[in-house]
Every structure is written in C-alpha cells, then in structure tokens.
C-alpha cells in the first residue's frame, strides 16, 4: 500500500470547548497506481482527510502510513524529504499559484526546493513537463493571471508531478472548470496517472467525475466513511442508504432516463458536525432507520467480500437495504 490511513480523527476547536468533528475514525488504503475517489457532500470532511494525509494539518489521533512508513509523528524536518513523494493539486489553481512568479518559476520550484536538479537540468525537466501537460513552451514566461482556468490547472498538475511523486492528493481539481475544459483536464489526469503510475486520492463531490477516473470509491458522511468499494460495484449496487441517496440525487443528463429514475428523498438536514447524532450518524435522515441505528455505531464490514465495505446495521449477510423503495 502506498497510503494507509488508520482510524484518523481530526477535531477542530470551535471555541467555548465546542469541537468540530471533521473526521472521526477514517480508515482507508490506496494501492500502488490506484486512484481512490473520496466523495461526499460539503462539510463531510473530505478536504480534512486530504490535508491530514499531507500533514498540512495535524491529526488529532490515528496513523498515516506512506509507503509503509508511519509519518504521523514525523517532525517537519524529518518530513521534508517525504514531501517529494506526495503532492497536492487544488481546486482553484489561481490562489495556489504565486502571482508574482512566472509559469517557469512555479513549475521549477519543487525541483529547486528539494535540490534534485540544477541549471540546465531544471529547464530540461520543466520543458518536458510542460509538454507532458499540453502547454506550449511560450507560456513559460507568462504569469498566472494571463492563463485561462484550464491552463492554470495544467500548471498546477505540472508542478505537482514534476518530482514524480508516489501519491497525488487532488482536491476538487476540476470542479471550477467548464465542461469542455474539464473534459480535457480529466483526460490529461488519467493519461498522466497511467503513464507515470502515481497513486491518487481524488477528492470530489461530483459522482460522474469519480466514476470516470477512480478505481475505488470511499463515501464520507459527517466525518465518517460509510462505504468503500470498487467503482463499478458502488455504482451498480450501492449498499449504504446514504450512497443510494447520493447516487439517486445526482441528475443524469438524459431527460428520458432522468424522469423515470426513482429518487431517495432525504428528510431533515445535514446535522451539525459540532454535535453529530449518536449511533449511525445518518439515522436522522435515513428513510430506513431502525431503533438500533439511533443508539449503536455501525462498524465498516465487508459482508460479501471483494473489498466492498459498508457501515450500516441494515446490511446483513442475507440482505442489502433499498432506500429507493422506502416512502
């Protein structure tokens, strides 16, 4: 495994002793060359997990192993060489690109910081990387504000990949892009990922995007992972009522199909992460909730094998709940 996150907890203080339960006991694994799509609604804790993996924020508890090495408690200094192996791509490349640097300086920066290349070698590698992400060489002398959104995201990718990292954490990298631009950036990401072989934690709220590029999916709700599994299986047979609701709510761009689909209508609102509900955190909105769901916390289990895990009391060895049938 390139990445192994075990029982990760991240609580943010919110004043007067209140605590935001941003991530509560998150465990996940990413194999060599695998793309894991982390999905869930706003505030579910996706970015928090991504930042903890990169140690951009300090986990409250739990462990993070990178390529077999426990990095949870490494000092900043000990962490430095490892920063070569893990890189991040952000949603808005504009705010993450220094406006006073040229594109060349931005893409070359990781090489310089880690002292892995000097002089002519730097510009050789920068030029090669620019070509790899489909940006013309003339752009090297430009500044971020002179580029379009799609071009800036290519620069963000070039910078993240120039050290040939083992793991890339991409947080909503195409969410700000238009469909036509998004298509070319998504094609580029899949091409680069297959050719360079890096593993990827791909964070997004867009199910159609993960379906396109993730090998496996993990679904988060209110700081917890409720289901993980191979992408095709999650889409073909979602097991957690929340996953079922999420999949059924995303409208498909086909009016005939869309207007025939059965939707899971969720009652209530997303509870506050300051005071998550006891038992299964989804019980306040789950159309199938039983008494047990209100009191006992369901563990992630893999009842049918095949690395398809689900945390729901209603998934038994015989039966998978169907929230679309509830009314």
């Amino acid at each position: 495994m390139i990445l192994r996150v075990d029982n990760l907890v991240k609580h943010y203080g919110a004043g007067r002793g209140a605590v935001v339960h941003a991530a509560d006991g998150v465990s996940l694994e990413i194999a060599q060359g695998e793309v894991l799509g982390l999905v869930g609604e706003s505030g579910s804790g996706k970015s928090t997990v991504g930042k903890c993996v990169l140690r951009l924020t300090e986990p409250t508890s739990g462990t993070i192993e990178l390529d077999g090495r426990d990095i949870t408690h490494l000092s900043r200094r000990a962490l430095r060489p490892l920063r070569r192996d893990v890189h991040m791509v952000f949603q808005d490349p504009y705010s993450s690109l220094n406006p006073r640097f040229t594109i060349e300086q931005i893409v070359a920066e990781p090489l310089r910081r880690h002292g892995v290349a000097k002089g002519g070698e730097v510009s050789r590698r920068v030029t090669a990387m620019m070509e790899r992400v489909g940006l013309p060489r003339q752009m090297l002398a430009r500044f971020p504000h002179e580029l379009s959104g799609g071009q800036r995201q290519r620069v963000g990718l070039a910078r993240a990949l120039i050290l040939e990292p083992k793991l890339v954490v991409a947080d909503e990298p195409v969410s700000a892009l238009d469909v036509s631009v998004q298509a070319s950036v998504l094609n580029l990401i899949t091409d680069l990922q297959r050719d360079m072989g890096f593993s990827c934690l791909f964070i997004t709220h867009d199910l159609s995007v993960v379906r396109f590029l993730a090998d496996r999916i993990a679904v988060m709700y209110l700081g917890e992972i409720v289901e993980t599994g191979p992408t095709d299986q999650i889409f073909a047979e979602p097991r957690h009522p929340y996953t079922q609701a999420l999949l059924s709510a995303a409208p498909v761009p086909d009016p005939v199909e869309q207007r025939q689909r059965r939707r899971v209508v969720l009652g209530g609102e997303i509870p506050s992460p300051l005071d998550p509900p006891p038992g299964c955190r989804f019980h306040t909105r789950c159309p199938l909730a039983q008494d047990v769901c209100r009191t006992a916390v369901p563990a992630l289990r893999d009842p049918y094998g095949g690395r398809h895990t689900v945390a729901c009391h209603l998934v038994t060895d015989e039966k998978i709940p169907d929230a679309t049938a509830a009314h």
């Binding site: 609604e41 706003s42 379009s148 238009d178 469909v179 036509s180 998004q182 298509a183 070319s184 998504l186 094609n187 899949t190 297959r194 709220h205 867009d206 199910l207 159609s208 995007v209 379906r211 396109f212 590029l213 609701a245 999420l246 709510a249 995303a250 409208p251 498909v252 761009p253 086909d254 009016p255 005939v256 869309q258 207007r259 939707r263 209508v265 969720l266 609102e269 997303i270």
Partner: protein, 328 residues
C-alpha cells in the same frame, strides 16, 4: 400563450478594454407555466440575458438594444421607477448564493413580510400569515417556528428556499433563477428543484432557469436554449434537444460530460474534448463564433452569421451544417 418575448437582445458593456459583447442578438420566448433553461458554459451570456429582463445591470456601462415584451408590454424603454414595480411583482429573481439576497440582521418572517407589505400593501398580521404559507409552499418544515429565525440559523438549502419564497411572494409572472442550486449539495438540490416544479404546477409560474448543468436541464426544463459566446445557438424542447442535438457545440457539450465517457482505440476510457478556446468577447465578427472549434465548419461559417432556423418540431439551430438524426 407567449408570456415573454425577447427579440434580438444585444447587450454590451463599456470597459477599459473596449466594448464587451456579452449578448449578441438573442431571441427567445417563454410561455405561461413553462420552465425554460438557459444553458451553456461560463461567460456565454446566460446571466446577462436573464438580468436584462428586470434590467439588473450596471446602468452606466450597459448598452442594451432589442425588445423585451412581457404580456405585450415593452420593458426596455421603461423608466427606473416603473421597472422597480415590475421587479418583485411581475418578474423576480433568485440568485446562486442565497446570502446575497437575505439580510443577516432580520428574521425570515420580517424579510418575506416586507416584500408583501411593499408590493401588496398587506398589514403586518396578514403579511405574517402569508409568510407562513409561503414557507410551507417551498417545503420548509415547522414554518411557524422558522419564521422567527435569522438566516444564519438555517442551512444552505433552507436559505435558498426562503429566497424562493420571497421571490414568489407577490406571485410573479416570471421567475428568473440564476444557478439556484449550484452552491447546494445534490441531495439538497433535488428538493429545491422540486420546489420550482411545484411552483409551476400549482401557481403556473413561468421560470427561466439559468444553469450550466445539463443534468439539471434534463431533470426539470420543458425547453432549453443553448448559448455560446453571447448567441443562442440552439433551442428545443428538452427531449428533442438531447435526442437530436443539431448544433455541433451542443453535441460537443453533451459528449464532453464524464457520463458520456467512451473507450478509445486503446481501450482506455476517454472524454470527447472540444478543441480550442472561446472567442474574445471584445470583437464581434460576422461569422459563426464556433467555427474555429467546429469539426463541420466550411468557408461560409467564417464569413456569415448563421441565423436560428427550424430543424425539427419546435427545434431551432443556428448552424449552416446542422447535425442529422442519429449523431448522438
């Protein structure tokens, strides 16, 4: 019955760089009780087209021409004082970010009541009762309690419902919703789209829904207008549009969606890309603005503007070489 008729709407903005051509001769109409989607990518002129109707555009820099008729009454020449009466009463607007429309320091009930008092001259008591009804109409549970709450006490989805309640408080003929669900999660979006459907069914409100999301268009719209670089390039009933897109740009958009991924020659899943970039909004050439990105373009696409022409039942496309059936 045609309720709203827009003819040759052209909107430019004076800027330091020159005249920005935001909307270039758009014509469309909206029937009573119809949900019309305006779709297309960022910058294509959806919002400017929508906001031209109540004329919520910067007065100093906007250059607007063409005709906008509501129930036969021309809106473009109306003085500001009359437009103010049109806004809120005949035409109202819902924006993407609910907090831009809500005042954080007043209760929800006060804000809805205010509108009713101003436009309908209701007493506070009557306005309050109406406000409760309106909150119920947009699917807010326990409206008697919610009415005393402040916007920050509500979730994003609830706030957007309140904004919709305010927008429909005076039973407008036309509701313009600009990306009303873009900032919301999908499970919340589904409920808000239901509110629009319900308003149309129960009150007969005609709705212009501005969105870049073709999934939303497929879900809720009766008809859609696809815009590109300030022009309406295609209009059709939604079933027809998705089944038989005529304009190469519309097809390009549909095929670029991740849901349309198809395996390439090497077996890898790929998305269809639209090569090239948007044309500059600073020039206004007499050409099809999509020509340099279009696989079907020929010489005349570079020298003349294709007008919207019929190419099926209720189906219009602005293309010299529209796609045939079965192109999808």
């Amino acid at each position: 019955m045609t309720l709203l008729e827009i003819k040759d709407l052209t909107v430019g903005f004076d800027t330091e760089d020159g005249l920005v051509h935001a909307v270039r001769g758009v014509s469309l109409d909206l029937a009573e009780g119809e949900i019309l989607a305006l779709c297309g990518e960022s910058g294509c002129g959806k919002s400017v087209t929508g906001m031209s109707i109540p004329r919520l555009l910067p007065p100093d820099s906007t250059r607007l021409s063409g005709s906008i008729r509501l129930d036969g009454r021309e809106l473009t020449g109306l003085p500001e004082a009359e437009l103010r009466r049109v806004r809120g009463k005949d035409v109202s607007v819902v924006f993407q970010e609910p907090m831009t429309s809500l005042n954080p320091s007043f209760t929800v009930g006060y804000q809805i009541g205010e509108v009713l008092r101003r436009h309908e001259k209701l007493s506070w008591k009557a306005a309050r009762a109406r406000a409760v009804d309106l909150l119920r109409l947009v699917g807010i549970p326990a409206p008697e309690r919610r009415i005393n709450e402040y916007p920050h006490q509500l979730s994003g989805g609830m706030r957007q419902r309140v904004v919709i309640a305010i927008a429909v408080a005076c039973s407008p003929r036309v509701l313009i919703a600009d990306e009303p669900t873009t900032a919301l999660d999908v499970t919340i979006q589904a409920g808000v789209l239901d509110v629009f459907r319900d308003l149309r069914d129960r009150l007969g409100t005609a709705i212009i829904l501005i969105t870049h999301d073709l999934g939303v268009v497929a879900d809720i719209a009766d008809r859609a207008v696809v815009m590109y670089a300030g022009r309406a390039v295609e209009q059709a009933p939604v079933g027809e549009l998705f089944a038989r897109p005529r304009h190469p740009y519309t097809l390009g958009l549909m095929k670029a969606l991740p849901t349309a991924a198809a395996a390439g020659a090497d077996g890898r899943l790929r998305l269809a890309e639209i090569p090239g970039m948007l044309p500059s909004s600073l020039s206004d050439p007499a050409a099809c603005l999509f020509h340099d990105r279009c696989p079907r373009a020929k010489d005349d696409c570079v020298t003349a503007v294709p007008e919207l022409a019929a190419s099926g039942p209720g189906h219009l496309a602005a293309c010299f070489y529209p796609l045939e059936d079965g192109s999808r």
